[in-house]
Symmetry: C2
């Protein structure tokens, strides 16, 4: 009896990812921890360094990449663009502080540990970009997206992503020997105007376009098809423009949030329930215990983790202080997770040969730990917010 079916290998990955993710997620919920903590832990548990049942493979990677797009799209659907723009100025301050503080602190620490200059650059860059997916998932699951601090976090995290990618482009240029300033300026210009234009006008365009397209298409679930087409197109466009695909996915959701019926939310929820566990388990699978191989790297890891948490917590928190101390704390905590973004930067550094495998391991551990710490901390600082009415199920 072997796997006669061509589905076999992919199916095995599906079962191995989905079942433990849901079980550990349920266990965490029971312990009053966010379910996603359990899902990341499932990845660590199954991964090459513990049980060894699952290594990062093509199936998990692809479904995880799709999953994070749907996660951001779904969050965008729940938020009104106009409300994000209202907190725009505060969010910009938070984002800039959230980029400068970790970059400076990360660079300083890496230099202190005697890492080469370029490697220090990459470590610092990996500490910059917030993983909005993780925070957004926690806030959405608890119905907290309507809070003012949540909107600041979302807007700041998107700006942060764009700033982080501009820095990445610069650092990658340096590593390649030539920093093309024209290219960099172009990426920066597109990266900053594209989201702004979409947040400003996307919703109006879609409220006009969706009903017309829907009747033109005449398909069952036409609105959902239109939504998916916008999601894929904007994600692709964002990727081509040198900013993250997830930014495009978020903007697609944002543009549609006032244009589509509740049914589109429900259908999107089906997809994200299926795919998001692959994103979260995929994060856990990356854990690299090499980061603790020697006292020296273990020390660097500890220092980098502390710096990663402190720089966002205080950097972003101070920048949001005008919202009051409670909201400032929420914003600070919400910006802590680095998730997959830090790992992507580290992977590029590794690929370019300017980052050693140990430094890669350090960044991966930093990304995972910040991502595990933030969700329970978020629930703590959001304590006392009245639970919203449950969504129609």
């Amino acid at each position: 009896m072997t796997l006669h079916s061509p589905h076999g290998a992919a199916l095995l990955s599906l079962v191995l990812v989905f079942v433990p993710a849901k079980l550990l997620g349920a266990l965490c919920e029971r312990l009053r921890l966010p379910a996603l903590v359990g899902q990341i832990l499932a990845g660590i548990l199954l991964g090459p360094h513990l049980l060894g049942w699952l290594t990062p493979n093509e199936t998990v990677r692809l479904l995880g990449e799709l999953g994070v797009l749907f996660l951001l799209f779904e969050v965008g659907l729940e938020v009104k663009a106009s409300e994000l723009l209202q907190v725009g100025r505060t969010a910009l301050g938070v984002a800039v502080a959230g980029v400068v503080a970790p970059f400076v602190l990360g660079w300083g620490l890496a230099e202190l540990w005697g890492e080469p200059r370029l490697e220090a650059c990459f470590i610092a860059t990996a500490m910059v970009a917030t993983s909005v997916g993780v925070t957004a998932q926690v806030l959405a699951a608890r119905g907290l997206l309507e809070e003012r601090a949540s909107k600041v976090i979302l807007a700041a995290a998107v700006i942060d992503d764009v700033l982080g990618l501009i820095i990445l482009a610069a650092v990658t240029g340096l590593a390649g020997g030539g920093l093309n300033l024209l290219d960099l300026a172009l990426t920066a210009a597109i990266g900053l105007t594209f989201p702004l234009l979409f947040a400003r006008f996307g919703s109006r365009v879609m409220r006009w376009a969706v009903p017309r397209l829907r009747s033109k298409l005449g398909l069952a679930e036409a609105e959902f098809s239109i939504a998916l087409i916008l999601l894929f197109s904007l994600s692709l466009l964002a990727a081509y423009a040198g900013i993250a695909a997830i930014v495009g996915a978020f903007l697609a959701g944002l543009a549609l949030s006032e244009a589509v019926e509740r049914r589109v939310h429900d259908l999107t929820r089906g997809v994200s329930e299926l795919l998001v566990p692959f994103f979260l388990v995929g994060i856990g699978l990356q854990l690299d215990t090499g980061a603790f191989a020697t006292w020296r790297t273990a020390g660097l890891t500890a220092a980098i983790v502390v710096a990663a948490v402190a720089s966002k917590l205080f950097g972003c928190g101070l920048a949001a202080l005008r919202l009051g101390r409670r909201d400032a704390a929420r914003v600070g905590v919400g910006m802590v997770p680095r998730g997959e973004v830090g790992m992507v930067v580290a992977q590029i550094g590794l690929g370019l040969g300017v980052m050693a495998p140990t430094a890669f391991g350090v960044i991966v551990v930093m990304s995972i730990l910040t991502t595990l710490i933030a969700p329970p901390a978020l629930l703590l600082v959001y304590r006392g917010v009245p639970a919203p009415a449950p969504r129609p199920a």
Copy 2:
């Protein structure tokens, strides 16, 4: 400006598959043809032999394989197991006739064309298994699953799939030089008892188990998570047992159809709206114009296509004659599409080296053409059935 993002290549495939599939689907609906015809045509159009924009790749393959699982799962959810068992005896007759007639006719034709014995065997086997996915999609989209003929088609196609896979196991054994009768008997025994047991008792077990598991899990969308876990597990189990994963997916849906709330149907719909186009476009992408390279192979192709249609139409139709001529015609037409199953058989034959690339091309063309012919023909023979009330949207 290049694809900086790791999502880039997969995203491009998403856009290239999804957008044309939906547009051509909408065009077909406007021409009163089933949307899925347009989606398969989109695959042919984009594929290597026409526009050449898309070649079958890992992303399309994986999402398509998942898509057909969700398609069968969704169909299972809409059907009551007890009603399928009621038509069981008729369905068994239809399935057996639908296996014997195409196998004999296909073998005879291939021998007549002077193909080697083993290759003739593989051609005949590829003509056996009905692609239930295509017929089910048409019937579900038009709300025709409640009709008696539809239930016979579904039950017969599942039995057919199992019989086809037993024959495939036998033929593969022959090609490998050793036909292990014990293995074959085991596959046959499992393949026939597993679906029967599930259809008979699955629903009762799930009606008991789902409410208990739901309250134990305590997750948001817990019922959908349970459904997905059953779907993946049964599909994997079916694949391990040597019967098709899609049979497992269908049985999972069947077992849950009376145990879950409407919400699970809606969430499943979201996933299938996303993934099924990849399955259908993937079928079209396989088109191999080599099947028309010479007059001899073009003749064989034409003969095989005619035999493939006629053998199912008359074989299954005659076996269902006791239902009356109208239902017999519906059953005959509904069993015609070969879709992906024929192609899988041909791929195995190609991999074993007993099937020449031209014969492979012939089977692929046969699979695609039967799949394109059946849906409009189905609508024709189902004419006059009153349209059901639209589902709550």
